[in-house]
Symmetry: D2
Subunit: 152 residues, 4 copies
């Protein structure tokens, strides 16, 4: 996992409401669903950065997940609003990382935090260099002179 | 939905164990997961009939779902073994139906029953006639002189 | 399934964005996820009617699903916005039905329609009469003199 | 995450077949589903060790997930059989870890590996000491003089 200092400050926030389907018999959100929320956060980060992931796929570029990690702090419950705060890590030439905090929207309590690692692949699944248009869009987006937190 | 007399007797049975992820905060299996189990039953039916669905897809034939219906009788719980009993309905030239019973494996209690309707489509999503090889394999499999219930 | 004339006009609309996790290898939304969206629509209907389902559960009343039915018209894709339009059917003393249309938000194309049937149960799973406060709140909400479509 | 030398050799293996619902539009298994398979492996490990998790819950003991981590090596596809190989890490007085390898059953190719961390809680969610009966059953099960790999 990347060190914390490699994470850019610029965060994109997106809120989802907990579905009944996301709970389990313990009465709280089943832990694997946080990994799905990470994906939702990533999608909204790419959109906010000007490169919707659906657009990348249309251009034949896919972002494969090579690693995921999550630490759970407090549980989320049915019908809670939870906010996914997504940041990007330093992108290399072929991969990048995202960092996430899941907070309860009402009171900001930290529910979970984690990260995902990715490589770029083409339609046949072969690793490729990040297209420069995407790399530059991301770089501009996370540049320190950019605006503050973004809500997608 | 097709009338009951259009359903062939030949059944394929397959057992799955209820996962924690499939439960919800009511303490029982979340209702949409039965629809996933229908898919598991359909997959095993096609394999038992000699035409694994993965093989159909490799040949460019996909079975789209156009309708689904389920009636819930009793609930299933975490770690229960449940048996999916799948039967085929009369196939037309472009579509077919499957019928399902979900029973608790231990005591045979009926948990749910339902059906799905399908059309065959090609890779571009256009409806196509069922390839004759598939139609004939299915017809032989459900023929009355065939063997009894099959466990996949 | 209830006849169409038993469905109240008053609709509650709620929009969700298709997650990557909701797609399958056919490239479109996996069919069982529409059943999950029905649940989301039901949750928002109850909230709009003044009786959030989470509140019902705190009072010891649960709405069990006894049947579900869905017809698929067109497929939804990753990152599409889809609007769930939920209506209530005539409630009996112990059960009720909901009716749903899933439309693509952008152009209003109908993707799927269906219904769910429910009974009210207590914490031990025993069927109970609908509490009068809930029944009256729902009745007021769907009364013809009430306002038009609601967005939750 | 625990160091490798803290992991007991004794492994429990359990095979599942990839469902269509578990794939995504990239054509392979959606990454969060491996976390669900970890849960399946954990369930079978506890059963093999003589303490089914459903039995623990009946006794009022729940195993909460406090962390999860997964590294993806190769993708799994629809209808593949995948084997979940689960090992236990050194248990402390209030928590324990599990380690997982997901391999393609046919050729043994490593698809993913990861771990989960847990604490024991009571019905109200408060951390508790691991009951001695459970701790001893697990200790006997992983003892070096025990038998080799177990298939559940």
């Amino acid at each position: 996992m990347k060190e914390k200092h490699d994470v850019f400050e610029r965060a994109v926030e997106h809120t989802v409401r907990v579905r009944y389907s996301e709970t389990d018999k313990m009465g709280i959100v089943y832990h694997a669903n946080y990994i799905v929320w990470f994906e939702v956060g990533r999608t909204e980060f790419c959109r906010a950065a000007g490169f919707p992931y659906s657009e990348m796929e249309r251009q034949g570029i896919m972002i494969l997940v090579t690693g995921v990690e999550c630490r759970y702090r407090r549980s989320a419950s049915y019908d809670d609003d939870v906010t996914i705060r997504t940041r990007m890590g330093d992108a290399g030439s072929r991969g990048l990382s995202f960092f996430y905090e899941i907070v309860r929207t009402d009171d900001g309590a930290l529910l979970a935090e984690g990260s995902t690692r990715h490589v770029f692949v083409d339609r046949s699944g072969r690793p490729v260099t990040i297209p420069s248009a995407i790399r530059e869009a991301f770089a501009r987006f996370v540049a320190p002179e950019g605006p503050g937190p973004t809500t997608a």
